[in-house]
Symmetry: C2
Subunit: 330 residues, 2 copies
């Protein structure tokens, strides 16, 4: 009988064990690592350094759209279908700002919980406030964790309202914008912004009246954009419009086929550049958080700003003074 030797329980060896558990597919280890990322724990950077060579294998699918479009149902069905294809799936649901729609999402999450008993599915919710820093920073780090843990697909779901949520979803490789009929005259207003973000336009609840009209409207908008100056070059991806009914799983194959097409298109020589841009954006987000700590807290900018504001200095002038002190060092 082998008894494990008493572990020399320095934090470094604890981290080594966490790493081993993570690579062995332990969901608890993954959950721990994501929590460290969320809280900017000092142990996170070292672990991710070790995991860096394992990154980039997962395909990151962003799912966004207005409240009520049926995103969570779609994510649930997509997950089921991907599992049928024997892909391991990590789902990161970025709930919108704690208070307001948390309840509705909670309901959707409960349906999603069916998936959690499957060892090949990892599900995590992240509140869009409450993490140490910005939500986009924490969400992208969480995707990295799931990627490093060996999941083949990461589904990143956000409610598409607000700049932070936009930042989150654009960190994905393929972005699905989910709409449903009945949004009415909102369509005109949303076209421009949607087309900018979407790699695949999904018209969900396709059995409802108005679905065909919405598909046609969106297709026309995509077409107009492709032939206008808005498409920056000849090498622009043109988002397909796919109708589906996530509730009855109809059209799901088409959604997956559209994701697959976009993936193939990116992989034909475009993926490295696309991901490099997203990594750079992430460096900026991490830097913004760390700079605040470094300058406002450690270097006393906070105290100085407080004093200058107290004597009536304008905020922009306070900042200009702080930046000047930084420049003078250089």
């Amino acid at each position: 009988m082998t008894t494990p030797p008493p572990s020399s329980s320095g934090p470094a060896s604890g981290e080594q064990r966490l790493l081993e558990r993570l690579l062995a597919g332990d969901k608890g280890a993954l959950a721990r690592l994501i929590s460290w990322a969320e809280n900017s724990d000092a142990r996170y950077p070292g672990l991710m350094r070790a995991l860096q060579p394992r990154l980039g294998q997962a395909w990151r699918i962003g799912v966004t759209g207005p409240p009520g479009a049926g995103k969570s149902t779609l994510v649930n069905e997509l997950t089921r279908e991907l599992r049928r294809r024997e892909r391991r799936v990590g789902v990161l649901a970025v709930d919108p700002s704690s208070p307001f729609t948390g309840g509705a999402l909670l309901g959707d999450r409960i349906r999603m919980e069916e998936r959690t008993i499957d060892a090949g599915v990892y599900i995590r919710s992240m509140a869009s406030r409450g993490s140490h820093g910005g939500i986009a920073r924490a969400a992208v780090d969480a995707c990295d964790c799931i990627d490093a843990a060996g999941y083949a697909e990461v589904v990143l779901e956000t409610v598409g309202v607000g700049q932070a949520e936009y930042d989150v979803v654009t960190a994905a490789d393929t972005v699905l914008v989910v709409l449903c009929p009945g949004a009415g005259d909102g369509i005109q207003a949303m076209k421009a912004g949607i087309l900018e973000v979407a790699d695949v336009l999904v018209v969900n609840k396709s059995d409802l009246p108005g679905a065909e009209r919405l598909v046609l409207d969106l297709e026309e908008a995509v077409h107009i954009r492709a032939n206008s100056g808005l498409a920056r070059s000849g090498d622009e991806w043109s988002a397909p419009v796919v109708a589906c009914s996530a509730g009855t799983a109809r059209g799901l194959e088409d959604v997956l086929a559209a994701i697959e097409s976009h993936r193939a298109w990116l992989r034909a020589g475009r993926l490295d550049a696309a991901r490099a841009a997203k990594r750079l954006a992430h460096v900026r987000r991490v830097a913004h958080e760390q700079l605040d700590e470094e300058l406002f807290v450690k270097r006393g900018w906070e105290t100085r700003a407080r004093q200058e504001l107290a004597v009536g200095k304008a905020p922009w002038d306070v900042v200009e003074g702080l930046l000047r002190s930084l420049r003078e060092q250089a």
Copy 2:
């Protein structure tokens, strides 16, 4: 007959004229100044420095809540009522991220346009993406502009989803969280977050079934919070719950009375500290934008980060290296 002398049209004199027009109540001048703020125009800081002594007169009312709660109707009616009391009102509507609910808000805005023919009302919409920097930074600067222009009330409306929108609304002196019956079981989930933000809880559409129940639920939640460790000190404001029906203008007086109570409470020796904290948060937001420009653009951090990422360095390690170079200067 007096002919105006040909103006010496250097930019400085142009800014002086803008200032004069602003102080004379010219809405076009105010619109121009807000656009400068939005775009971080180089002329903005100088003008705001000149206007600094005029700031702080306006009362800033934040209005937030989930989509469909009737925020815009309430803002419209509040504006009407404040005008009846001969207060000049500036309304800043921060639309959520361009694409998704822009349409619905647009409809509400059209109703609001009735107010625009009134010289004592200024209305401005701000997209929550597309401004040079963060939306909260731009929105608070826009409030400063409206304040400096002499409006007695600034109403700051956001859809309460997402971190950026939360940042916006918490820059207000008095925050109204607007809810309506029918949100159902979401209430439990939202209580904590709502109570943290709200100075006044408004139950809108009070003629709908479930309104009384919602009022009672919220009152109970406020009561529980007041008697728990969540309220930080004995000197905590306890948010009143006010029922109203903005569509029929019923209960509006009560909403205004609640705002007035909160204003009186803050003015009893608490306002300076509350506003100082908000100004400091604003300095941080301005600094984050300016630091990105200073370091990533002017100092070449962007190029360096790009190179280091290209050779497989982890984002957090890239940032650590950049920060080290900053520390070594100090």
